[in-house]
């Protein structure tokens, strides 16, 4: 590629987080007007890379060169000034304000002596939206728009002013087909206007539809850089998932017992549709699906945090009505939630208080908490799971992600759960802790516990599960014995 055409160059970018190398020596060049697909599993380093580009994270090692000039971004507004705009997956609009106010957020259009001219603002917004072939009314209030329209406003916001590079993080995750087509048109239009686009997606068909070139990241390293027309779906999938993982964690053969959980025709709004499956004692069953497939909602239903709109759930042959987490708890179901900080731990409380938090009623008779019993329980799990903290009186906020996750797991081991639901149990934790979490799950199986796991990391699913269910659009679309399937097959099914 000719050097003068390169609009952005990222050179040997490396980023360390405590205990994890998030990015390792990444080199990426993007040409003007190019649409670059950025691929990789969760935790591969895509978001970290984008956050460095946008100035949300500081650059520690490496260089960012824009139009041949080295830049250092200390704050997101500095990268915005350079024409780098990011549209995040979670749209960040001002809901009660109008479309025009959102497009010009932070600016005053046609202001005279401190007064804003709504007429001029509307006119300018109209011009920008026209450029995008959109007929959204500039004076409509944001919260009345559809998701696709909101996204259009985000794009309008991004392209007004100077935009060189537009980063789109999974822009289609909440759109239907018609909207996706419109989005493609808009993206092509931007390309014609000379805007460079970095497009992040999990969905293969989108990558082949829209991108010129793809870069694949895995475990913080760049493992592929191909022209889209010269690669194939299979090649990309194998680059994304890698191979070695399952070899690192040889699975133990554990004898399976009776069916302990049976789910029949469970639905929840339009998020989970007519789902049926079973789980045996000693078994690890995984659910795999892309964003929006319904795996998370299914788990919330199984723990009684959301109430199924129809269907039946049987625990050890007995039908139960899951109307509150209390009920799930009563039937020895434990839950390791998706978002550790928001739902898993109370960071301002101690490790011990967190470990016993689901089991307070058993810490002594009557009203009082028996301090001796509590200490005994804490010590037990503290040692067993080798939680790395000075003592069980340490505040959870000072622990690493992996150790916080062990605290969450301990909470349910403490209750001797028979069924453990783990929602992305290794998200954002380091490799060593991952292995420890797998080991814990395996040990539980040996004791006759059944483990259900939702994971978006295929190598993890293949390494530890016995069976896999693939979900898409709220439905189960495939069931596999883990031994008889592979990453390519699962990814293929889930992404088409």
């Amino acid at each position: 590629m000719s050097e003068n055409n390169v609009v952005l160059e990222m050179k040997s970018i490396t980023k360390n987080f405590p205990g994890v190398k998030a990015l390792d020596n990444i080199d990426i060049k993007v040409k003007k007007g190019e649409i670059l697909g950025l691929l990789g599993e969760n935790g591969a380093g895509k978001s970290t890379l984008i956050k460095i580009l946008s100035g949300a994270y500081s650059l520690e090692e490496g260089k960012i060169i824009i139009d041949g000039e080295e830049k250092v971004f200390k704050h997101p507004h500095e990268s915005i000034d350079e024409g780098i705009k990011v549209i995040y997956q979670e749209l960040t609009s001002f809901e009660p304000l109008t479309v025009a106010e959102n497009i010009f957020a932070g600016e005053t259009i046609g202001a005279k002596g401190g007064f804003i001219s709504w007429r001029k603002m509307g006119k300018k917004a109209r011009e920008i939206l026209d450029k995008l072939n959109s007929d959204i009314d500039p004076f409509k209030v944001m919260e009345k728009l559809t998701v696709a329209e909101k996204q259009m406003v985000e794009i309008a916001k991004a392209i007004h002013g100077d935009v060189k590079i537009l980063v789109m993080d999974e822009p289609t995750s909440a759109l239907d087909e018609q909207d996706v087509d419109n989005l493609y048109k808009t993206i092509r239009k931007l390309k014609e206007m000379g805007v460079t686009i970095i497009y992040i997606s999990h969905r293969m068909e989108e990558i082949f539809e829209i991108t010129d070139r793809v870069v694949v990241l895995r475990d913080g390293r760049k493992v592929g850089d191909k022209l889209t027309k010269e690669t194939s779906r299979d090649e990309l999938v194998s680059l994304i998932v890698g191979k070695k993982f399952s070899e690192q964690y040889p699975k133990k053969e554990i004898e399976k017992g009776k069916v302990i959980l049976e789910v029949k025709n469970v639905s929840y709004l339009n998020k989970v549709k007519d789902v049926s499956f079973y789980l045996k004692a000693g078994e690890i069953v995984a659910f795999f699906g892309l964003l929006g497939a319904g795996t998370h909602s299914l788990f919330s239903v199984l723990f009684g945090d959301k109430i199924a709109t129809s269907g039946q759930v049987f625990v050890e042959g007995k039908e139960i009505k899951l109307t509150h987490p209390n009920i799930a708890k009563k039937y020895n179901i434990g839950y390791v939630p998706l978002d550790r900080k928001e739902e898993g731990v109370a960071t301002e409380m101690t490790v011990g208080e967190n470990i016993t938090s689901a089991n307070i009623e058993n810490l002594g008779n009557g009203f009082m908490i028996d301090q001796k019993i509590e200490k005994k329980h804490c010590d037990k799990w503290f040692d067993k799971l080798s939680i790395k903290a000075p003592s069980h009186k340490t505040m959870v906020k000072s622990l690493s992600g992996g150790n916080q996750q062990k605290v969450v797991v301990a909470k349910w081991l403490e209750r001797e759960s028979k069924i453990l639901l783990m929602n992305e149990p290794t998200r954002g934790i380091d490799v060593g802790s991952k292995a420890e979490i797998y080991k814990i799950a395996e040990d539980l199986c040996e004791k006759g516990v059944g483990v259900l796991i939702v994971s978006s990391e295929l190598p993890e699913i293949l390494a530890i599960s016995d069976r896999v269910y693939v979900m898409k659009d709220g439905e189960i679309i495939g069931e596999f014995k883990t031994k008889e399937t592979n990453q390519e097959e699962l990814m293929h099914l889930a992404s088409t």
Partner: protein
């Protein structure tokens, strides 16, 4: 060996660990006493100290109750009106012609009324799901209105045993009200620290989602804290009626502000889940001593109010600086 035991005991009590603000407060308090005493030596006279101790208890007791609500991440601004209602109930029920209710029963009715107001607040917040500030802003207005309605004229209670409740001393020098305050504070401290209910309060405030997913009844826990707050506010009303031997519709007007100041000064995080009653003890003493000290220093009453507002802002400032610094250290 003995040494080791003491250490583990202190560790169990865990007085300062959860409240970094308390040691600072104590130093501030000592400085303050020194300044006020140098302006007017009467400040540290036995009579004045007795008077401070007798007057701080009402706010202190109410702050203890409000603390439980704030710890769950909610707020109760209806406490001042609850105080007013309770005081009027005392006067009205005592004065019902021909019924001659024993004073103990009258006090009990007033306390139950406070608990009932708390239950209404709790119901609206947990079952109906209205934000607690809005809920209690509504009940604040409703019960203030009712207080005015029932007390069109000053209702007097000239009954020695009742007056003794608020004005009595034990061992000649220790006000009874101080005993109630300290007794309640110690009791609630133990409840928060050593009971399942107390643990749940902290859990709900520290992370309501995590608590719910751990099977804790977030609503039930929150509900009970409102009842506690209502009952302690009513206690304040009973004591005030007893100290003044009458009740008026204005009783407790603006108290929500005073009590909030104590809780914030005490380091009870308004986000919930953090802070202990040790801080409340110190903060109650500080605030009571300030108004008394300013009075003795001949500061006009209008300025005393303003000064209390200043104290509140400084306390919040200290708290937010601390939080921001912690965030920076973590990043």
């Amino acid at each position: 060996m003995a040494n080791k035991n003491t250490k583990s005991f202190l560790d169990t009590i865990n007085v300062f660990k959860k409240n970094s603000m308390t040691p600072t407060l104590i130093i501030v308090y000592i400085l303050m006493i020194a300044i006020f005493a140098s302006v007017n030596p009467l400040y540290i006279s036995l009579t004045n100290i007795k008077s401070i101790l007798a007057t701080i208890s009402i706010s202190g007791i109410m702050a203890v109750g409000l603390t439980t609500v704030i710890l769950t991440g909610n707020f109760d601004i209806s406490v001042g009106s609850t105080l007013g209602i309770a005081a009027i109930i005392c006067a009205k029920f005592y004065n019902i012609e021909g019924l001659n209710l024993p004073i103990g029963v009258v006090i009990l009715i007033a306390l139950l009324a406070g608990a009932a107001i708390g239950a209404i607040n709790g119901f609206l917040v947990t079952v109906v799901g209205i934000n607690s500030i809005i809920t209690t802003l509504g009940t604040l207005a409703i019960f203030r209105g009712l207080a005015y309605f029932f007390a069109t004229e000053t209702a007097r209670i000239y009954y020695k045993p009742f007056i003794f409740v608020g004005r009595g001393y034990v061992f000649n020098n220790v006000p009874l009200t101080l005993i109630y305050f300290i007794g309640l504070l110690v009791l609630m401290y133990l409840v928060l620290r050593f009971t399942k209910f107390g643990r749940n309060i902290y859990q709900v405030g520290a992370n309501a989602d995590a608590a719910r997913l751990a099977g804790v009844s977030v609503d039930r826990t929150t509900f009970f804290t409102f009842i506690i707050s209502g009952a302690t506010a009513a206690m304040g009303g009973v004591i005030m009626a007893s100290q003044l031997a009458f009740a008026q519709g204005e009783f407790g007007l603006g108290y929500e502000f005073k009590i909030l100041t104590i809780c914030v000064l005490a380091g009870i995080s308004l986000a919930g889940g953090r802070g202990t009653l040790v801080g409340v003890l110190v903060a109650t003493f500080i605030l009571g001593s300030i108004s008394n000290g300013l009075a003795l220093a001949d500061v006009p009453i209008e300025w005393r109010e303003a000064f209390q507002g200043l104290i509140l802002i400084v306390a919040i400032l200290i708290d937010s600086i601390r939080v921001r610094r912690e965030k920076l250290l973590r990043a």
